[in-house]
Subunit: 281 residues, 2 copies
């Protein structure tokens, strides 16, 4: 039996949009993810762009709503959309709250029981999933980029800053940049990571960018009509942290745009081109 | 009070993606629809493209999945996505069957009770909705085109053929072209229209094209991996009817593509350009 189960594969922009399931060692159970293979993947290994989704989302959300396949087909990028957490964990308290647990893995490796047995999205995205992709898909992992939205923007930024050798490019839409300073982080991080603020700081982009740097400009798009902007997202904190540490950042603010995938779809082409420039080099 | 209720309005590709509700006289109750206003609509009346969705769909389906806003913004087209039927009709048998009733209005004016009181999607799309748009949105109805998918492709073709003076362009994805000859039509048309086959023929594109003509080429895209192709869609029947009656038709068959919005999204740009050529003229 193959190590991945094909849930569905459908033709899209001359390539293949697939949904897959496999048993994850890292997350201790089944995980789902989506992969778009552009037409170029039929004949050669292609660079990879991960897209990490936000709270409440699944591997389907960006796949259906972001409209990324068109440019991925044009640029020859494989798109990888993981689910945002393990599912059907059976852990008490893992469902019923959209800001914590299933659908809200925050791309951390939980260290507190019972979450530590299953909620290990950081290692899953950084290690296990790429290794699986390398065995099952025509990917050139030496050319990988990472992008995300909201909680997934936090994931993309923290992962890229912690593992700059693994990714050539990083970008985010409306990311959580300072979880140690905002309600979403205050709620989730102690439950996943315990009471030591140092453990939270290891997953805070504003903290990480003071110690680490990313070789290349970070691209962030933010809508100014985003209802989470002032309380949860606070891009000015990352702007300031990057300025102080010398990290190149291009932060674009867009009047009238909200937190939705209508915003993401409007600018996804710019992000794919940003990544393609780094990945094709 | 305004005659339309704004459900939501969100910035998209420099324009506005809106969802609206109003009380329809034609359909005897509340109806929902979506309108995308491109950036150009801020300063002038723009041409309109209707997109009619298929079985089980709502005004949200193509809005979210087709990826049409990008080209609509570039070409300056207003997109109008109606719901596929009235909802919450309370009519016995109107729910629970995806091929008939709510979500399956087939773009006919029902003549058989109890359906005739509410299921009048043909007149709703042709008359009431355009009149409402003209009062509430910056549209130039003299420049209207119509497109649809599956049951909505049937709607687009039959409406355009019955009212060629109202539309300058028509196209369809995987349309039902001969409902009088396929199971979907055999199931729905008698319940909406009664037992006289002549009444069904008035909503059959293959029949209509023998008596009517459309000034301009009809564009149809069809996926060859569409599971409904052989039994329900049968585009060869329309191809033959157009050939026999001298109607210009461009029927494109695409290997590997199925019936889904991944197929639609892959070719939506071609359809919007097809309409824009006719509407900007």
């Amino acid at each position: 039996m193959s190590e991945i189960e094909i849930v569905a594969e459908q033709r899209s922009f001359g390539g293949v949009q697939g949904f897959y399931r496999h048993v994850s060692e890292t997350c201790g159970g089944p995980m789902r993810f989506a992969v778009y293979q552009p037409p170029q993947a039929a004949t050669r290994a292609c660079p990879v762009l991960y897209f990490l989704a936000g709270l409440t989302c699944t591997e389907e959300t960006a796949t259906i709503k972001a409209g990324a396949q068109r440019m991925a087909a044009e640029l020859g990028l494989v798109l990888v959309m993981p689910d945002t957490s393990p599912r059907d964990t059976g852990i008490g308290g893992a469902t019923g709250d959209w800001e914590f647990g299933e659908g809200a893995g925050f791309y951390v490796d939980a260290t507190v029981a019972p979450w530590s047995a299953r909620f290990r999205m950081h290692s899953y995205v950084v290690d296990e999933l790429p290794a699986l992709l390398a065995r099952q898909f025509p990917v050139d992992l030496a050319r990988s980029g990472i992008c995300g939205h909201s909680m997934g923007g936090h994931g993309a930024l923290t992962i890229a800053l912690k593992h700059p050798q693994r990714y050539r490019s990083v970008s985010a839409f409306a990311p959580i940049v300072a979880p140690t300073q905002v309600p979403w982080g205050h709620k989730a991080l102690p439950r996943y990571l315990g009471d030591d603020p140092a453990a939270w700081a290891a997953y805070d982009a504003c903290e990480l960018v003071r110690e680490h740097s990313f070789d290349g400009e970070i691209l962030i798009d933010q809508g100014e009509a985003d209802k989470f902007l002032a309380e949860q997202l606070r891009p000015e904190l990352f702007d300031q942290a990057c300025a102080e540490s010398g990290q190149a950042l291009r932060l674009r603010r867009h009047a009238g745009y909200d937190h939705s995938y209508y915003f993401i779809a409007s600018f996804i082409e710019d992000h794919l081109r940003h990544h393609a420039r780094a990945l094709e080099a």
